[in-house]
Amino acid sequence: MSVHVEPVWLYVLVFLCLMVLTATTVGVAFVDLGSFNTLVALTIAVIKMLLVVTFFMHVRHSTALTKVFIAAGFLWLLLLIAFTLTDVGTRQIPQQPEGWGSATTVVPPPK
């Protein structure tokens, strides 16, 4: 694997971007965006994560095999979140059909 040496200014630039994004996250927390609160916070977090993975972890110079494994990691995370949401997003107390649970339908205990 070839070794790529990044110029220092690039690291500084990425670091500054991360700091600005962190400040943005804090700033946005003071503004109520309604249902967009989580979306905005997560979008900023994903951008920061991509910056770290791409530049600090040198993935942009990595082999295709490394990239496949990184993609697999994110795919698995997506599976975890998506399938958990199929439960959390559709949970409801089922409506009792009429007559269920009333005294007339209770089966008497065996003697």
Binding site: A72, W76, L79, F83, T86, D87, V88, T90, R91, Q92
Partner: protein
Amino acid sequence: MSAALAEAPPETRVHYLNANYGIKSWLLTTDHKRIALLYLASITLMFFVGGAMAVMMRIHLIDPAGALVHPDTYNKLFTMHGVMMIFFFLIPSIPAVLGNFLVPIMVGAKDLAFPRINLLSWYIFIIGASLTLYAMVSGGVDTGWTFYTPYSTTYANSQVMATALGVFVSGFSSILTGLNFIVTIHKMRAPGLTWFRMPLFLWAIYATSIIQVLGTPVVAIAIFLIGLERLFHVGIFDPAVGGDPILFQHLFWFYSHPAVYIMILPGMGVISEIITCFSRKKIFGYHFVAFSSMAIAVISFLVWGHHMFVTGMSVYAALIFSVLSFLVAIPSAIKVFNWTATLYQGSISYEAPMLYALGFIGLFTMGGLTGLFLASLATDVHLNGTYFIVAHFHYIMVGGAVMAYLGGIHFWWPKISGRMFPDTWARLAAAIVFIGFNLTFFPQFMLGYLGMPRRYATYPAEFQVLNVMSSAGASILGLGYMIPLIYLFWSIRYGPVAPANPWRAKGLEWQTSSPPPTQNFEVPPVVTEEAYAYGPPGSGREGAHD
């Protein structure tokens, strides 16, 4: 590879066992074969500790009112049995022992890609195991091996944190081992060893490693969050402070269902090696068996919800998980059918490893098919939480994974130790294990179907006959496990010297001497043929030395 060297008695030449002596040469070794033996000793200890708890449970359940221990102690027994057996025996069993020993040799390398990380993973395992043993002797833990919230976070007064920390730590050992195998298989294969010439054991270990690397961090996170909630009352799983108790089950089973495949997939790899060797045939449908391992690894991550059908998950999610759970039966069935087809018109012999392998096929099939009962929503409501589940997963993990592990240990024992074990005793032990296993767990299917719940210290008198049968079977099974322990130890000193290839098997590990030199091969091997290139029966080319 010089034949003369291979046949020389182990004492007269230098190999990995006598290359150097002393406790330091073992505790600081980076030789994958020695690390495999370190793991073998450690997990054997944990197996018998966990087994002792199972014996106590079965003695207790001879009497409907409970014959041996206080109900609180019973809760601790089944919890610690599960924790020991799953996290400290089954998960490391085949990967860390046979995988460590065989992966570099099977790919034709001198060692794993990261030998020091390999040793580190053993030390991490030992730290995790020590923490869990400490938890056991300082009061035990009673949450069940699943650590379900809110009991584990809010109510349990037992050693939850020490046990959870032990499991958390040992997870990193599993991740590092998986990482090592993935890199080794990708990067260190001998010239000529293409992906589709690899032994199926390597495919199985590769698929297992992917699960270990991608799944284990999630259970580590889940356990870490339990710690946060227990110690600092952060609201993650407790609804009173905004948490969701079922979220824990999602996180836990996202790893712990695939963990079942961490236990069984390497076993399937072992079975592919043994079946082909002792029927002297090429595996039927190599590509299907190889890809079914990968399919199992992927699908195993999509089915975790079937553990949660009756714990408050939404009906919609339950429907999805039910359908997906049926899917995983397909690659499992492909393997079973292909092994059976491999046997067809094979030149079959019944050495001890083959007996374990044949036992595996039958018992795994029963375990797998009863899993379909539990993947069906309607029958699961009746069977969940009963002994039916206990029987089902023991058919997979004991009837499947442990049988494969024992089969593998016997198959490669001449390579590992340089000595042959007494075959008659080994066949007898395999038969005793098979009989003891079925007598222990088949009655539990019936008990569960009749409605006896698991994890209870007492039961109605009408269930006593089946419980006594199960306890009797457990004592036979225990005997069946003790016999190999004795004769394998015996064989190290007194067993006949093993030739390089006692089973006339294919594969690079049989082309080096028994036991192998520290560098595995005197001359770096080159692979020139497909895996399992056994000749057709009667051709005179069945063996490796043609």
